[in-house]
Symmetry: D2
Subunit: 286 residues, 4 copies
């Protein structure tokens, strides 16, 4: 049980310059005894209202140095304060506020919401087990208008899809990776120094002057994973889900027109999905 | 990988009387080899477009005798037709069309959408493993305006919630149960003869003339599980999630009024959540 | 300016039996002077927080006898209390809680949310003008699986739609009508005695044993309007919007099957829409 | 009546460089005669399917030089082709694809969706009347963390809001302006040369080094209007709606902490809204 979507803004001031971190937190607990379920005995139950208070108190006291560190702080607090807690899991996602700029000059206290991919993280811990930290980015919508195809696939009497060597590849990415057992990482440093977001965009799109051919959504998923694993040594395992929107080239012959991939119709339902989890020296797909 | 939200309507006619079943299907596969991820070799890949075609062909040929039977048919088809499929999972949910009635007379071909809980099911199978069937109901919003409290909980310096013995209990229920290894069940018969939906409503609300006191969300979750397990012998394990909306009694003293639980404000975020999975002779909570 | 989505629950008790009305209210004002826009002078501005307080105070004091009466009460309060208010408009919509029944017995304090059409109303008044009341129902999703066609329409070189005399008609209805200048109506009485909702369903679907042929969405819209106007003398003008979902009969020839309107695919985007406003002795469409 | 959410992607290629414009179009017509409503006579009705075809054919033939020009093309087509059309209105909104950059180098065919404000436009025309063009931006979420207050407002017994001279101002902007009767404008040129979006951001936030004090949401709305009208001579009338999210400073005294505007809770419902329409030499608010 736990509390979901605890939303708040943490404002930090350095002189006249303001810094904002708006987040949404979910924190779930499992207790040592199920007596509240079976007997209606609430004596060990930490109310979800208290869970909320603790999250807000920690934000007030420590600030949010990074999403990951904040999630770790929450887990640590519950494990060390409450001996009846067997397991704790915290999810933190960020509202994508960006500082406004006027003619290149950063504004001291004005911000704009730019939701081109949402950063999130998770931390979880079982009593007597290691604290494990995950980070990720979701709701990242990308498109390449060529250098994508799908050929040589399995066919039988139910196959109606034609082979294509030039189609649009468009989808929403969900990427989540594990940093393994938590060490004293500077998580924002890993994120920015390794340019994880840029890695993902680059693996998706290829070189800017020519792109790179993708023979399938699956291969693109794998390319993203391989590049992140090769560039970011702290990442142990990476899961990527690509939910793709097909763009059908509209047949306009009955309207007397020859449509050379100029007008395309997005097909939002049904949509294909492919997911893969890749670790170091081992892999498995789901 | 797979195809999500394959939406279609299956129309069945008996003379002038029409029967509709509109569903949304997701089907996911895992193949024996990950060569399409690693090498871009698509030769074993069944396109998600073909997956969609197969679902529609099965609906056309067999109809949808019950959601569960349809999900089983899909799993069986993939397992028996494609030796490269290691694992298949199918989710089916129903659009809640109900036959219209005029002055008590059922209409032969008119329907209304009544989303007071959505039926769904899942079937999954690993090659050489049993086919397992789940069923459930979700998005079921219930409220009781008394006979609910929360007292005797754990308190410390972060506790600000007062004890209450008379509050509103309101939430959205998600219930999912397993029928274990699939036998030749008539799933709709189990659903209707055992009145599973009615069971859930009854366990939530208690007797119509007085209700039944709930000492916590957790206990209500447990009551629902116990009643379903006791009344429906085919159910092996039942998971219930209750996402609750709190209703705060508005303090109107500064407006010169004494609000005796007459005006209440729903608090949609953050919201509490409690989940429990209960099986026969064993239990575990999550 | 004003306050939107003021949500609250009004609980009414008669002995042990509870009655709930949960609503969402929007109230907007226009002031006599725009000085707060032009000069930043707030001296006449009633804060939206005060607007919210007034709505809640009226709910506490008067209850919600009917949605319409509550909207009228709000308008009257602002017009009589604040001479700087030039115009007031209030919208009220209801959360569709229904009393639970167990084996036909109504429960004294348990409710279920059944969103098969949402009741709403509006009241508006200019200073020195009449108070006008509207009522309506929205989000009402209906379907008939036959007795609908579309033939004899205008054709040119851009027409690809075939004529059809047997198709599915499915759509979401929005109906809003005016009661004209407010008299001392018992609005719930008008609603229930005249069976307005039943009227709409009947006009949509026709007799239960055979239905009634609809030659177009437009004609169905008109039938609904004509029936409501003929049965409910208090209704002056009625606007109906029908947003329709097409169901395409899937061509399965390339899958070796003859699909006799058994498997149909809903097309949610783009969707057609038709709207008409019909009054007594005059009409105009939009 | 008409067709809503006609979604398509228009791909334009210049050598290896690709340009995308993905839009969503709604087109509505009013005919000279209501005979289809009253008599079920469809002979003048242009099916919504044909409306969709025409939009797609125009996109294929002319491309989308600018959203506004495309909307004008659609209106012109209906007015000149169909003498039974009395009135036509077209709404076009853009999916915010932006070209990807790698280390500052633009990618030739890869794009990312960046929804930080959505551009849209409208064109409408009555037969024998002028064609009028509107343009705008919506879903633009902005925040300033200081330089905002609300004081000196009207107070009575229902006022509980304290005066504040330092609060967070956060809201979602909707701006729509009229270019008056359509002349041969280069609409994208107006947009980019006049930096309309930058105007709005600047009027909201003030100078980057100090900001500018806002005494109310209303005054901020007016500042945006004044700046756009002063900088963009082609704009005749501008409507701005600001839906604001309040951020409450959390009272943490009962948790033993002094919260100096460090932790704030967003209040999403109810939300305030203020709207104003400002023209040249005249104004009116709504």
């Amino acid at each position: 049980y736990g509390k979901n979507t605890i939303k708040f803004l943490r404002l930090h001031r350095e002189g006249k310059k303001h810094f904002v971190k708006e987040v949404e937190v979910c924190t779930h607990l499992r207790l040592t005894s199920p007596q509240e379920y079976l007997e209606g005995n609430n004596s060990l139950v930490i109310p979800t209202d208290t869970i909320k208070n603790i999250v807000l108190v920690l934000a007030k006291k420590n600030g949010i140095p990074s999403l990951e560190q904040f999630a770790i702080d929450i887990c640590n607090h519950f494990m060390t304060t409450f001996c009846q807690v067997m397991y704790v899991k915290t999810y933190v996602q960020e509202v994508p506020w960006q500082r406004l700029h006027e003619n290149g000059v950063p504004h001291i206290h004005s911000f704009i919401c730019v939701p081109d991919g949402i950063r999130f993280c998770e931390a979880e811990q079982c009593r007597n087990g290691p604290l494990v930290v995950f980070a990720g980015i979701k709701d990242l919508k990308l498109m390449k208008t060529t250098q994508s195809g799908f050929e040589g696939f399995y066919k039988n009497e139910h196959t109606t899809l034609p082979e294509r060597h030039d189609r649009i590849l468009c989808g929403e990415l969900f990427c989540k990776w594990s940093y393994g057992e938590c060490k004293d990482f500077d998580f924002d440093c890993i994120w920015y120094m390794n340019k994880i977001r840029e890695c993902i965009l680059e693996a998706f799109s290829g070189p800017p002057d020519c792109g790179e051919y993708s023979p399938s959504y699956q291969k693109t998923v794998n390319s993203i994973q391989m590049l992140v694993l090769s560039k970011v040594s702290q990442v142990q395992v990476i899961e990527v889900v690509l939910n793709n929107t097909f763009y059908n080239v509209l047949d306009m012959k009955n309207l007397g027109l020859n449509n050379d991939k100029e007008v395309l119709i997005p097909v939002e339902a049904p949509y294909g999905s492919c997911a893969c989890t890749l670790g170091r020296k081992k892999f498995f797909e789901a």
